[in-house]
C-alpha cells in the first residue's frame, strides 16, 4: 500500500492554495499549474485529487463559503441561546458580533471576503459554480435573517419594521461594505466598517 494520505485533508490543502492564489493574484491566475505551485505539489498530484479544474473550483468555492458561514453561525447560536440583553448598546453589540464575521475586518477575513467576491462574480457566467453560489446566498440570507429576527424581537426595536425588508437592506449594506473594504482598504478601514455596521443596527432600534 502507498503513502498514507488523507484525501480530504489533501483536498483542503489544495483549496487553501487556491485561496492564496486568488487573494494575491486574482481568480484569473488560479490555473492548475499556479495552484499546484502554491500548494507545493506537482500538477499531476493536484489532478489526482480533482478530476477537473471545474471540480476543484467548485470545491474551493464551497469550502470558502462554508468557512465564512460556520464562523458566523457559531456566534449566532451563542446569541440565540441566551436571553437578549436589555440595553440597546448590548443588543447592537451582540448582533454586530455575529455580522462582523461576514466583514473583512482582519487579514484572514479579508482573504476570505476577496475569494468570496471573486467566486460569486465568476458564478454569474460560470454554470459550474452557479449551484455553489446559490447555496451561499441561501446561507448568508439565513444568517442575516436570524440576526434581524433577534434584533427586532427586542422591545427596543423600532415599531413596524418588516423583518424581510430589513434583512434585505442589511444584506445589501454588508455586501457593499465588504466590497468597499476589499477594493478600497485605504478609504474604508476596518474601524469604519465596524462603526457603520453599528450605526445601522442602532438605527433599527427606537431612540
Amino acid at each position: 500500500m502507498p503513502k498514507i494520505i488523507d484525501a480530504d485533508d489533501r483536498r483542503e490543502l489544495v483549496a487553501d492554495a487556491v485561496f492564496n492564489v486568488i487573494s494575491e493574484r486574482g481568480l484569473a491566475q488560479a490555473s492548475l499549474r499556479n495552484v499546484a505551485q502554491a500548494a507545493g505539489l506537482a500538477l499531476g498530484s493536484v489532478r489526482h485529487y480533482f478530476d477537473n479544474q471545474a471540480e476543484l473550483m467548485e470545491f474551493a468555492c464551497r469550502v470558502n463559503s462554508e468557512r465564512i458561514h460556520v464562523r458566523a453561525l457559531d456566534k449566532l447560536e451563542v446569541l440565540e441561546g441566551q436571553p437578549l440583553p436589555g440595553a440597546a448598546v448590548e443588543v447592537v453589540e451582540a448582533c454586530a458580533g455575529v455580522l462582523e464575521e461576514l466583514l473583512p475586518l482582519d487579514e484572514a477575513r479579508r482573504a476570505d471576503a476577496v475569494v468570496h467576491m471573486e467566486f460569486m462574480l465568476a458564478a454569474r457566467t460560470n454554470t459550474e459554480l452557479s449551484a455553489a453560489a446559490r447555496d451561499d446566498y441561501r446561507a448568508t440570507g439565513a444568517v442575516v435573517g436570524r440576526v434581524v429576527l433577534q434584533l427586532l424581537e427586542s422591545p427596543l426595536a423600532t415599531a413596524n419594521l418588516v423583518p424581510v425588508d430589513e434583512a434585505e437592506r442589511l444584506i445589501g449594506l454588508l455586501d457593499g461594505l465588504s466590497l468597499r473594504m476589499v477594493l478600497q482598504p485605504d478609504w474604508a478601514a476596518p474601524e469604519q466598517g465596524r462603526a457603520t455596521l453599528r450605526r445601522h443596527l442602532n438605527a433599527l432600534l427606537a431612540n
Copy 2:
C-alpha cells in the same frame, strides 16, 4: 487619403463590444479576438486603435464609469438647481431618482453595473486598471456625497446625522444592492431595490 473614420467613434464602438462580451460572458472572455468578433471587426482593426489590450481595457473601464456617473450627475444638477420640496416623500423621491442611476434597474443599467463590478474587482490585482478604479471611486463618492448633503439640508432630516458617515453607509448600501441585483436577479428584483433604497432614505428623515 483613406476611408474617413473618426478614431474616437471607432474606439467607443470597440468599447461597446467589450461591454457586450463582459456582460454576456464575463471579463475572462474579453479577449481581443472575442471583442473584435463582437464588434464585427478583424483582430488587426481592433489593434489598430488600441496598441495594447491593457489600453483597451482601461479605456473601456473609463467609458463605463463615465457613462454611469454622467447619468447620475445630470439628474443631480437638476436636483441641486431647484429648491428642496417640503414634503418628505418628494425629497426622498428626488434623491432616489439620482441614486437609481447607479442601480441596475433596467437592462441598460444592468449591463453597465455588471461591467462596472467586473472592472472594479479586476482592478484589485491589475495595476493597469487601478488608476481608473480610483477615479471611479472618487466620482461615486462625490455623487452620493452631494445627494446626502441635499437630503440632510432638509429641515425634515433627522438631527445629529454626520454627512460623511451617512454617505459611507449609503454607498455601502448602493454597492451591495447593485451586487445582489446583478448576481441574484431572481431574489433581488428591480422593484425591491427601488423600495429598499427609498426605505433607507426615508429612515434618514425624522418621522
